[in-house]
C-alpha cells in the first residue's frame, strides 16, 4: 500500500493509533506515578504510612493527614488561614495585574507605532532567556533598596513583568486584523477604547494563557518568602507547606507533607484543565520568527 501521508491531527480513532498509545502509555505512567503516589500518600492513615513493605496505593483513606496539618499550624502561633490569605491576595493581584501589563504592552507593541518599538521588542525577546535565579542577589539588593522587604510588594512586583507572557500575547494580537481596528478608529474610538472594546475580547485565549502562566509562577513561588520577607505573618502558603515538608522528615511527617503538597498542586491542575483549550490556542502562535 502506498504511503498516504498526513496522519497529523486525525479526527477519529483508528487502529494505527493504538500502537502509538501503547508506546506512550509506559512513559505516561512514569510521569503520572509520583502524582498518583502523592494523592494516595496524602490520604493514608498512620499504620499504612508505617507499613512494611510500603504499599503504593491507599487501602483505607482518611483525612487524618489534613487534620494534622491544621493542628500543626495552630501550634505554631500563626493559623494556616493567614498564610492562605496572603497567598490568595498576592496571587489575585499578580494574575490580574500581569494580565493587564501583558495585554496593554502587547497591544502597543503590535498595533501602535512609536519610537523605540523594535528595540523594545528585541529586548523582550532577549529576556525570554532570562533565568531569574541567576540574578537573585541583585534582585534582593533592588528590593532592599526600594524598602520593600517585609511587605506584600516584595511578593508581587518582581513577578509582574513576565517576558514570556508578553511575548505570547503580542504574537496573538498580531493576528487581529488591522482592518477591524482601522474601522474602530474611523468611528472615533481612541486607543484605550480600541484596547478595551476590540483587542481584549478578541484575545481571550491569550488572556487565559497569560493568567495561568502568572498563576503557576506566583502560586508555587517560595523564593520571595524565603529571601525578601522575614515576617512570618506575611509569608505565603506555598512557603509554609514547604517548611512543613522539610521539617517533618519522619515517616509520619511524610503524610502531612503529601497533604500539603496536594493542597498546593490541586488548584494549579484544576485551573489548567479548565483553560487548556485556550492555552493550546495561544501556543499555536508562539513561534519566534
Amino acid at each position: 500500500m502506498a504511503y498516504k501521508g498526513n496522519n497529523i491531527n486525525p479526527q477519529t480513532f483508528e487502529k494505527g493509533q493504538a500502537k502509538l498509545i501503547a508506546i506512550l502509555l509506559p512513559l505516561a505512567m512514569f510521569m503520572l506515578l509520583p502524582i498518583v503516589f502523592i494523592i494516595c500518600h496524602a490520604f493514608k492513615p498512620m499504620q499504612e504510612l508505617f507499613a512494611f513493605p510500603p504499599k503504593f496505593f491507599v487501602s483505607s483513606p482518611t483525612l487524618d493527614n489534613f487534620k494534622k496539618l491544621m493542628k500543626a499550624s495552630q501550634s505554631s502561633g500563626i493559623p494556616i488561614s493567614r498564610y492562605a490569605f496572603n497567598s490568595i491576595i498576592v496571587t489575585v493581584i499578580v494574575v490580574l495585574a500581569s494580565i493587564f501589563l501583558s495585554t496593554a504592552t502587547g497591544f502597543a507593541l503590535s498595533k501602535l507605532k512609536f519610537k523605540g518599538k523594535f528595540m523594545l521588542m528585541e529586548i523582550n525577546n532577549l529576556a525570554l532567556m532570562f533565568v531569574a535565579v541567576a540574578v537573585m542577589i541583585p534582585r534582593y539588593l533592588t528590593i532592599d533598596f526600594l524598602h520593600m522587604t517585609d511587605t506584600y510588594w516584595a511578593h508581587i512586583l518582581p513577578l509582574l513583568a513576565m517576558p514570556v507572557s508578553l511575548f505570547l500575547v503580542k504574537q496573538f494580537i498580531d493576528q487581529v486584523p488591522d482592518a477591524l481596528i482601522e474601522a474602530a478608529y474611523m468611528d472615533g474610538a481612541n486607543d484605550w477604547k480600541v484596547y478595551y472594546k476590540i483587542i481584549l475580547p478578541m484575545i481571550k485565549p491569550a488572556i487565559a494563557t497569560s493568567a495561568i502562566m502568572a498563576f503557576q509562577q506566583v502560586w508555587v513561588n517560595t523564593e520571595s518568602s524565603n529571601l525578601y520577607v522575614s515576617d512570618e505573618n506575611l509569608k505565603t502558603l506555598a512557603f509554609y507547606m514547604n517548611t512543613l515538608a522539610n521539617a517533618n522528615n519522619s515517616v509520619a511527617g511524610q503524610g502531612i507533607a503529601a497533604a500539603a503538597q496536594l493542597i498546593i498542586f490541586l488548584p494549579n491542575l484544576i485551573l489548567f484543565i479548565i483553560l487548556q483549550k485556550n492555552v493550546m490556542n495561544t501556543m499555536a502562535s508562539s513561534g519566534i520568527k
Partner: protein
C-alpha cells in the same frame, strides 16, 4: 497604485498614548529584570560582602573563578555541563518526540495524555522535590528501595540522596521528568496547526514514511515553535537547577555531587555573603544560557 496612508500609520508620530500603554510594564521590567542584570555585571567586578560599600577589584573574581575555585572547576562546572546537556537538548528532543506522537492521536486521548505529560510542570520546583524525596527515601520504607529489594536487585536499602554517585543521576531524572513545560505545549500546537496540503504534497513528492515526514515536513514547517520550545527548554533546565538542594535539603549538596551553578551562586551569595563573587558566577550562567539560545537561533531562525 499609490497606497493611501492608513490611519494607523498616520498616527505614527502623534501617538503618545502608546507610551502610556507600555510604561508600567517597562518600569517593572527595568526594575526587576534589566537593572538586576546590569547590577550583576557591575557587582561581578567588585568585592562586596553586603555590608560595606562594594570595592572595585577588576577581573579578580573571574580570575579566581577560573584559577582558584577548585570546587567550581572540579564539581560545579562538570555537573552543570552534564546536567545541561542531558536535560536541555535531551528534554527538548523528548518533548518534541512526545508532542509528535501525541499529534497523531485523535482529540480525546491526546488531550488526556498531554495533560499527564504536562502535569509535573504544575508542581513547582519545590513540589517536585517533596514528591521525589519520599520515593527516594533512604531507609527500608522508601518506595524505590522496597521495590528493588522485592525484585531482588539489591539486598540492602541504598541511601539514595546522600550517596554522591547516585545524586546527580537522580537530579537529572527528576529534571527530565518535569521538563515538559510551555515549550512542549508550543511544539504540540505547532505540529497540530500545520497545513494539511503540505503533507499531501510531500506524500506525492515521494515521502515514504513517518520518519521522513517528520524530518522533511513537520520540523521545517514549525521552525518558529521549535525555536521557542528550545529557548524554553534551556531556561527551564537552568531555572530548575535548585532541585538537588531541595532533594537533599542541604547546600552544598553531599560531596558536591549535584552542585550546579545555580546552587554555587546561592552558596556564595546567601551563605558566605561573597556577593561580588556570586555575581561573577551569575554572569557566567547568563552567558551560558545566552550562548546556548543563540546556537538554537542559528539552527531554527528562518532566513529572510
Amino acid at each position: 497604485m499609490a497606497k493611501k496612508k492608513t490611519s494607523i500609520a498616520k498616527r505614527e508620530s502623534a501617538n503618545k498614548t502608546a507610551y502610556a500603554f507600555i510604561a508600567p510594564y517597562a518600569i517593572l521590567f527595568l526594575t526587576f529584570i534589566l537593572i538586576p542584570m546590569a547590577m550583576a555585571i557591575i557587582l561581578s567586578f567588585t568585592n562586596f560582602n553586603a555590608i560595606q560599600f562594594p570595592k572595585f577589584v577588576g577581573f579578580l573574581n573571574y580570575i579566581n573563578l577560573i584559577t582558584q575555585d577548585e570546587i567550581f572547576m572540579q564539581y560545579v562546572l562538570p555537573n552543570t555541563v552534564a546536567y545541561a546537556i542531558i536535560v536541555g537538548p535531551g528534554g527538548y528532543c523528548l518533548s518534541f518526540l512526545i508532542a509528535w506522537v501525541l499529534a497523531q492521536l485523535s482529540s480525546v486521548p491526546r488531550t488526556i495524555l498531554a495533560l499527564i505529560f504536562y502535569s509535573p510542570s504544575l508542581c513547582g520546583a519545590t513540589g517536585v522535590a517533596i514528591l521525589w524525596k519520599i520515593i527516594f527515601s533512604g531507609d527500608q520504607t522508601g518506595y524505590l528501595n522496597s521495590w528493588l529489594i522485592e525484585l531482588g536487585i539489591i539486598n540492602e536499602p541504598i541511601i539514595w540522596l546522600t550517596n554522591a554517585s547516585y545524586l546527580l543521576p537522580i537530579v537529572i531524572i527528576v529534571a527530565l521528568w518535569s521538563s515538559m513545560g510551555i515549550g512542549f505545549l508550543s511544539m504540540l500546537a505547532g505540529i497540530l496547526n500545520a497545513d494539511e496540503s503540505v503533507y499531501e504534497a510531500a506524500a506525492i513528492d515521494g515521502v515514504t514514511n513517518r520518519f521522513q515526514e517528520m524530518i522533511y515536513v513537520t520540523i521545517p514547517t514549525m521552525k518558529p515553535q521549535m525555536l521557542f520550545g528550545a529557548i524554553m527548554a534551556i531556561t527551564g533546565a537552568f531555572q530548575n537547577g535548585t532541585i538537588g538542594v531541595q532533594l537533599t535539603g542541604a547546600n552544598p549538596t553531599p560531596g558536591y555531587a549535584a552542585q550546579l551553578i545555580v546552587n554555587h551562586i546561592e552558596d556564595y551569595g546567601f551563605i558566605r555573603y561573597e556577593m561580588g563573587y556570586a555575581a561573577a558566577v551569575s554572569v557566567v550562567l547568563l552567558a551560558i544560557v545566552y550562548i546556548f539560545s543563540n546556537i538554537f537561533k542559528k539552527l531554527f531562525m528562518e532566513k529572510d
